[in-house]
Symmetry: C2
Amino acid sequence: MNASPRRKELTRLAAQLFVQEGFDRTTVRMLAQEMGIKSGSLFHHFKDKQEILAAVIEEGTQNALHIARQTLERSTPSPEDRLRAMARAHLETLFTDRNAHVVALFEWRRLDAESRAHLSHLRDAYEALWVDVIDEALEADLIHGDRFLVSRFVLGALNWTVRWYDPSGPRSPDDLADELVAMIMPQSR
Amino acid sequence: MNASPRRKELTRLAAQLFVQEGFDRTTVRMLAQEMGIKSGSLFHHFKDKQEILAAVIEEGTQNALHIARQTLERSTPSPEDRLRAMARAHLETLFTDRNAHVVALFEWRRLDAESRAHLSHLRDAYEALWVDVIDEALEADLIHGDRFLVSRFVLGALNWTVRWYDPSGPRSPDDLADELVAMIMPQSR
DNA sequence: GTCTATAAAGGGATAGAC
DNA sequence: GTCTATCCCTTTATAGAC
């Protein structure tokens, strides 16, 4: 994909608006204003509004995937550490310059069929990393249950933080991640 | 609130469409068609589109609250049983012909400030039931951690099921609830 | 309580000049 | 690459007849 610095910057601004207003309520005029251009000029950079959403979601998922892979490379082999590191990385992509990953999670259904088909591979790759880490914890007998169910419950708990967690409050995202891991892995206390 | 049987039925139909399409993409024409009337007639029943959303969300939250209270009344005093029962009840309101609760969770931010202020008390009452049940489990030493964090993680995991769980699949909502409880309460296996 | 007709506003997108 | 101007369509909501 074309990822000129300019386009990346525009995508970043779009992500911010999509989080604030939601995709459907964000107009091309609002996007253009945020980018400091007129609405007509926007279509020089993107074919249509859908393409902006796809660009944001691709960016958000690539970023989450990249950070997760880096995290796993750098982690110790301890399944407990790896799980904690993945949870921290997930919240980091949600709350530290958060916007694109949030859009990827909460505006997924607004994608047209074509983009969804293309991007679902990326999302699957991200989820696969999680299932691997959960698997390691299962094999080490640190947790119990179905690998897919556990993965989805954990990701659900993490994703839902977007609805209630205030990152400017007293608790850090890392604290949050650690508390979640402790919840499903009580012997780690 | 005016809750004639007719209005309740229209609200139910609206909830279904809001789940399928999202509030923003559901037009008054779609709503009217689903209700078997013309779009102009819709405004005899509701002041505007916002009021339809507020009605759906009120219905959904009242329903969840009602079922949760009933569940707790009928439950044994065992903290483990009560937690499991609450999780089952939550998924029941999400997946058993009860679109309104899904709308309440996922379209909350589309409410105008006035409705949000009014309805947030209802939502708080529902969450308070959860915090109580979590508290009982904490006191019984069945789980550990911060009462609010644990409540929100559990609710997040449950709410997120809407994104991936297929109720027509082999697993029942009750199975799901039990698996989640087992995840945070391993000694219950 | 429902209809038809339509007002008023705002939406995405395009054309062509610069 | 950006502008102005504008097309064309859909949206929510209203008015008044039945």
